[in-house]
């Protein structure tokens, strides 16, 4: 069994990998859902858009479910505190997600324009709302979340839902939505042709530009206007986790301190810019598969930037600083982290393998002819 401090760091990285996997895989489905009403003008076009992700959205959504399960297993206190504290935000995500399975599966089973249009907007909600709220949630993590632990580690959240919707958090929400929609637009270009391709290209350029602008703005705001958090007691990384066993202070510029301590981490924001620009350039030139890889790297860069800035914090508390949750004191036992690591090491390569096979089987452009031939079977 690996030592406890290493496992704590590995699980911080693995949760990051799962979140990034979720954003890349489920993210492009959500981007496609967000763009659906705009890039598909008639029923055949909309069915083309839906069927680019039809065979895959379900498997991709498991990244989300597994990510949630992994946070539960590896960081139980984070799972408990974040899900209960962000109660209404989480329910909004959940209820938005309701529209996806039924939207995909039920939409084309009834040949009625109102029925189909309703589910199209349902798929839009299921695609646009979750990334927006996750971005808003990340924006709030940087500002601290109003919660505290009692002696028995029962957490109480003292904020309100509306308090989450502050300007910086909303900006982060736009960054996240732009990132996911951009990624979805690149994917659509790869899988479609004709008018849908052209409209997707326009969307790709708009959201790519928006992403670069808002990501930069959020960075400057974080540097100039947001007070960060820092641990000012000595951390014993081998200790059994107890969040109340430390002291924390607020410091201007603390969120950028890691880039000074570990200059290599500056590669992450650089990757976000390089990935976006490369994806835009490649996509415009028709190299859509390479563009998709580049926009996936953008996601690695952006989520990596957020994680590296926060490290070692996961969820700082604004009302009771020492209650803040960090990679050192929110984790499961050494045994559980170790078992979960083995499970991930064994199954993750298999998942990537059979997911790739599924994409390979379904590869190629989704065309109007395909939809006509599969009138009854396609979504």
């Amino acid at each position: 069994m690996l030592d406890y401090p290493s496992l704590k760091i590995i699980w911080w990285l693995l949760v990051g990998v799962l979140l990034i996997g979720f954003a890349i895989m489920d993210g492009h489905d959500m981007g496609v859902g967000t763009l659906l009403p705009f890039v598909g003008k008639d029923d055949v076009e909309r069915r083309i858009v839906i069927n680019t992700v039809g065979p895959h959205w379900d498997g991709n959504q498991v990244w989300f479910i597994t990510g949630g399960g992994a946070i539960f297993a590896a960081w139980p206190l984070v799972y408990a505190t974040a899900f209960s504290g962000f109660y209404w935000a989480m329910l909004a995500v959940l209820w938005a997600l309701f529209f996806r399975p039924v939207g995909f599966d039920y939409r084309s089973k009834i040949n009625n324009p109102t029925w189909r249009a309703t589910w199209d907007w349902g798929l839009f909600i299921g695609g646009a709302v979750p990334p927006l709220i996750f971005g808003v949630a990340f924006g709030n993590l940087f500002q601290g979340v109003p919660f505290q632990f009692a002696d028995n580690l029962m957490s109480t959240y003292t904020g309100s839902f509306w308090g989450l919707l502050n300007p910086f958090a909303l900006l982060c929400g736009v960054v996240s939505t732009a990132m996911i929609t951009f990624h979805g637009a690149v994917y659509l270009m790869h899988r479609t042709e004709g008018e849908v391709y052209r409209r997707s290209q326009r969307a790709m350029l708009i959201f790519g530009g928006l992403l670069l602008a808002t990501f930069s703005a959020a960075g400057i705001w974080l540097w100039q206007g947001i007070e960060g958090y820092a641990i000012d007691s000595v951390i014993d990384a081998t200790a059994l986790p107890n969040p109340l066993d430390k002291t924390v202070v607020r410091q201007a510029g603390a969120w950028l301190a890691n880039y000074g301590h570990y200059p290599a981490t500056m590669a992450l924001p650089a990757l976000a810019y390089a990935g976006t620009l490369a994806a835009m350039l490649l996509a415009v030139n028709g190299a859509t598969l390479a563009a998709f890889v580049a926009s996936a790297l953008t996601i690695v860069g952006i989520i990596g930037t957020a994680g590296a800035s926060l490290f070692p914090f996961i969820m700082p508390s604004s009302t009771d600083l020492r209650s803040s949750l960090t990679v050192w004191d929110s984790v499961s036992s050494q045994l559980t982290l170790s078992i979960m690591l083995w499970a991930t090491v064994i199954f993750m390569p298999l998942i990537i393998l059979y997911t790739s096979w599924a994409y390979k089987v379904m590869a190629g452009k989704v065309t109007a002819a395909y939809i006509r031939e599969n009138e009854h079977a396609a979504y």
Binding site: P55, D58, I65, F72, M90, V102, D105, D151
Partner: protein, 518 residues
Amino acid sequence: MLSEQLVDLSRLQFAVTALYHFLFVPLTIGMTWILVIMESVYVMTGKTIYKDMTRFWGKLFGINFALGVTTGITMEFQFGTNWAYYSHYVGDIFGAPLAIEGLMAFFLESTFIGLFFFGWDRLSRKQHLLVTILMAVGTNLSALWILIANGWMQNPVGAEFSYITMRMEMVDFWAVLFNPDAQAKFVHTVSAGYVTGAMFVLSISAFYLLHGRDVEFAKKSFRIAAAFGFASICSVIVLGDESGYTVGEAQQTKLAAMEAMWETEPAPAGFNLIAIPNEAEMKNDFAIEIPWVMGIIGTRSLDKQIPGIREIREKNRERIVSGMEAVTALEALRKNPADAAMKAEFEAHKADLGFGLLLKKYVTNLQDVTPEIIEKAVADTIPRVTPLFWSFRLMVAFGFLMLALFGAALWTSVKGNFADKPWLLRAALWMLPLPWLSCELGWFVAEYGRQPWTIYGVLPTHLSVSTQSVGSLYGSLAGFVGFYTVLLIVEMYLMTKFAKQGPGSLGTGRYAHETAHA
């Protein structure tokens, strides 16, 4: 102290969303194997009709599956949103099977379900069959991990409490994995799912036969459902959950409550076929008893005793008193972890910590505990008998009704004359709701019977909730009920529409009702 209203509403919301989710899960579990059987026959014989069967029943399976996925995400969210202290307190053990379920099972099921629907023209016959098999394997493995998590709630093995982290921590993963309670539950629950799938196909096929349409298609489907259903219902009954009831105290308490066994009887105990339990006086006002049966089913022996409710209560009283010491020592240790005397005191009573926590429903500070409060806590340790007693009997009665139906269906299938027996076809049609009712009743017996605990003997339900406002709970509960009602209407509309239309909905030109468009 957490308000009782908050606890009740959190429980109600969990029960509503779990029972609703469980309307879709058993059918998914059962249908996957039925699809595997149909498609295997297609691959072996090359007869197109079996491919059409796989596709048509697969279509109905898909409509059901969509809601299973939708409502399943709710379950994963809800431990965090509404059961935060539970999630913290046992996440170290409970979270792992959920995460492994995702990695090992749900990815497999969900990836291959896409290829199942969209891969017909892009895969060879054998490849597609492999896809269907992997989908079925994923679905069933998914059930396994969820039931390992649930089994641990009933019989929490392989874990110990740590006063530093203030939670249960895993010490033996293999004990959690091979928890006999989880294994018994798994077999029972997936078999119930197989019965549900079989009943679904049997009933709808009977409907076509009664209307004399798509006869070949319906006959072939009926036969498969009859054979698969008969094997499954035998498995449900013979390998019933009973086999798990001798394991651990939680199950003994549940068993005593659902059998309305107030006294410990000499072995082998009798089985109360019908009784009118009187909870206040702890006796049955009326009972028809079959001698020996309970002892034999419950212990698989003639000489092992099954403890009655009174005996269990007496033991629990001792544990509550000892648990008080554990809670008091723990609270002192949280303030001063170096206190050696308190540590010794805590270690001595640690096993009863959960029982001490039962008192937190009534007092914040255990110094305020009175003998009356202890009595209340003792009474709390036994779930209400009447609803358990009747739910269990109803479930069993439905099980035997289905055994009779599948027996007759199999017998006439072998003889080849079921299509000429309208009474049988009508019985098959009318019994369609029975597996769903049985599954819901079974869920109720298992989970209501675990009260007052979320984790038996470890964490009381009233301590497990998130600190939400009562208003939030009313709001979210109303939201769930609203969404779920609309979704159910939509699902039932589509399911009925396509079931009525039949295989014509595939648009192959080989069946009745082809004109209606999908």
